[in-house]
Amino acid sequence: MPDVTIDWYVALSIILFAIGALGVLLRRNAIIIFMSVEMMLNSANLLFVAFSRHLGDLNGQVLVFFVITVAAAEVAVGLALIVTIFRTKQSINIDEINLLKG
Amino acid sequence: MGILTIVTFLPLIGVALILLLNQGENESEDKIRWLALGTSAVTFVVSLIVLAKFKTGVGGLQMVEQADWIPSWGIQYYLGIDGLSILMILLTAFISLVSIAASWTAIGHQIKQYYIFMLLMEIGMMGVFLAQDLFLFYVFWEFTLIPMYFLIGIWGGKERIYASIKFFLYTMAGSLLMLLAILYMGIKGGTFALPDLIAGRAAFADVQNILFLGFAIAFAIKVPIFPFHSWLPDAHTQAPTAGSIVLAGVLLKMGTYGFIRFNLPLFPEASVHYAPAIAVLAIIGIIYGALVSLPQKDVKKLVAYSSVSHLGFVMLGIFSLNEAGIQGAILQGVNHGLSTGALFFLVGVLYEQRHTRLFSEYGGVWKAMPVFSVLALIVTLSSMGLPGLNGFVGEFTILLGSMGAASLGPNPWIYTAFATTGVILAAVYLLWMFQRVFMGPLDNPKNKALRDINTRELTIMLAFLLFIFWIGIAPSGYFALMDSSVAELVSNIGTAVVALP
């Protein structure tokens, strides 16, 4: 049985990140896309903590703390936006929202 | 936060406040105007404080502010002021104030945006003259293009789109070469800070001719030196009055300032090497600009071409590479800003009433507007270089410099003699302009209804005249401001160039 090294955590993190990315790219539901983004953030967090442990540096954890805070703020605003969009368009289908079209 | 940062970014406060106001109602339009005027007035006052804090005997940078910006590239937020830039700062503050006051009634639509752009313009210009980090300088340099692009493009004349795009791309194209030169030096030297690069200029001495040209072309287009002047008549004629004032008053000076600030100390040998060639172009510019001014049918175009002629003098002074020449050049830059700025303003006053700038529409205006005409006469004379007024002081110091310039070879008098013909030609085209507008019979019925200058316009003109007379009669204080810095610059060039005796 091999020891659990940092490599394992990197691998796990990448897989979760890739799944999150797929979620963003494939799903139509804005809320699910949002959740996928959260998952990508989490995969990054996981890596932070793993490296923090690996290198013996507490700063990694501090950073995760901040990421979580920012994520919380982001979710709050993001969901509020989704609610607003839903009010005007009666839909949260991401394919129907293209206000930024050039 | 240092005073230089304050003087640079103070207009941002005005921008923010204006943004908060609603556009539309008359009342808030006035509020916008007053806000913009107030902001620029405060900036002007702060620039006077800078002047008060300025130590005249010191050659190097003063009131330095230094902070890391992008440390991994050696890019800093680095502001500083010395004798080469102090006058430019004052000029910028003054011209911005005046041009905002001059737009009071001339701009009738999209007032909010207009004043925001004017204030942004001021930030950019201040930054250009204060930045001591090449990268920071470049950022400010390019930044100035944006507000001017919109000022011409939105509030300009009939061909404004053409003129603004031409202005933008022309100057942009020149700056790209400068950007390459800056990047090369910055990456090679590991820093973008100008003083450090000057100290370590030996590192790129082998390619300095190329680097010199990279900078020179960018600045030459801005100045503009013949034959890069083709954008100027378009931009000047199409810009709104205040735009022309700023353009002639400050933007063109950014080019000449660039030569003094960067080309001379960074590449002294190349400067000496190219001095005769640039002097020849400058002299061609003097004569050519004057000749081309003469047959123009549009007042503003005439003044625009006259800038080519005047800036030729400035370039000649710079590449005399001696104390008199460079100081004369800096002062002449200021003088040109005042005289030509005032001329554009006067043209604007006429244009506001008659909506034409064609000479054929005018004549005998003196009879209808006596006070205005006297003021115009004084400004014309100042532009012509009448001794006792500001133009002469700069011009004479420049010619004095070029007569004794070692950089122009053993016969500098040939250059000086040709340059001095500009004195005659200036009289020819300026008097012709004055005669066509103000003299002769008042036979166009539309001109009979012209009202004379009002209090606001008179106040602006008196502000111009104050400096026109002051510099003309007692310029020694102005020279004292730049003397030490220029002396240091010249000795700096001299020590680098062993070939010079």
Binding site: L12, I15, I19, I31, I32, N45, Q61, I92 | -
Partner: protein, 169 residues
């Protein structure tokens, strides 16, 4: 860095939960899968000697944020909008390819063992107290800024959520 068996079990649950979130047709299910995923990761944090972060993960993410998600999903009745992108199939393929490519790239690197230093982990004091000290010694200003950020987003949410005067009402 933990018992391999524990790690594998947790990793498997996390990935499974993630896949579940990705594939569920019902948004509520997706959210619940995500909660599971977050909880698993929280456990991993604790394994990694970061108990404070693990707890925060549970309370903030799995608790607060996900509740918010569920709340919105139910509020909007948007739980049935499932499925994946319809028309542009190339997007789906490209996305899949990219995701796989990402994993493969890292896989290659990890297989070569050249990615990161695989030395032994260093043990440090990472108790909540130590973390708190670090936070207030070196990160006071960012900490304050974070507070402002939260406040700002709160105001933003209030503004966004408010009904437009004279429009809807």
């Amino acid at each position: 860095m933990g018992n391999p068996i524990v790690f594998f079990i947790l990793a498997a649950i996390a990935i499974a939960a993630a896949m579940g979130m990705l594939t569920s047709r019902n948004a509520v299910h997706s959210a619940l899968f995500l909660v599971l995923n977050f909880a698993t990761i929280a456990v991993l944090y604790i394994v990694l000697n970061a108990p404070f972060i693990g707890m925060v993960q549970i309370t903030v993410y799995a608790g607060a944020i996900m509740v918010l998600f569920l709340f919105v999903i139910m509020l909007l009745g948007a739980d049935k909008l499932g499925g994946v992108v319809g028309e542009d199939k190339w997007q789906r393929y490209l996305a899949g390819f990219l995701a796989v490519a990402l994993v493969v790239v890292f896989g290659i690197v990890l297989a070569q063992g050249g990615g990161v230093d695989t030395g032994t982990a260093t043990a440090i004091d990472s108790s909540p107290a130590a973390l708190g000290m670090r936070l207030f010694e070196g990160y006071v200003f960012p900490f304050e800024v974070t507070g402002v950020l939260l406040l700002t987003s709160m105001i933003g949410v209030v503004v966004l959520g408010r009904k437009k005067r004279g429009k809807d009402a």
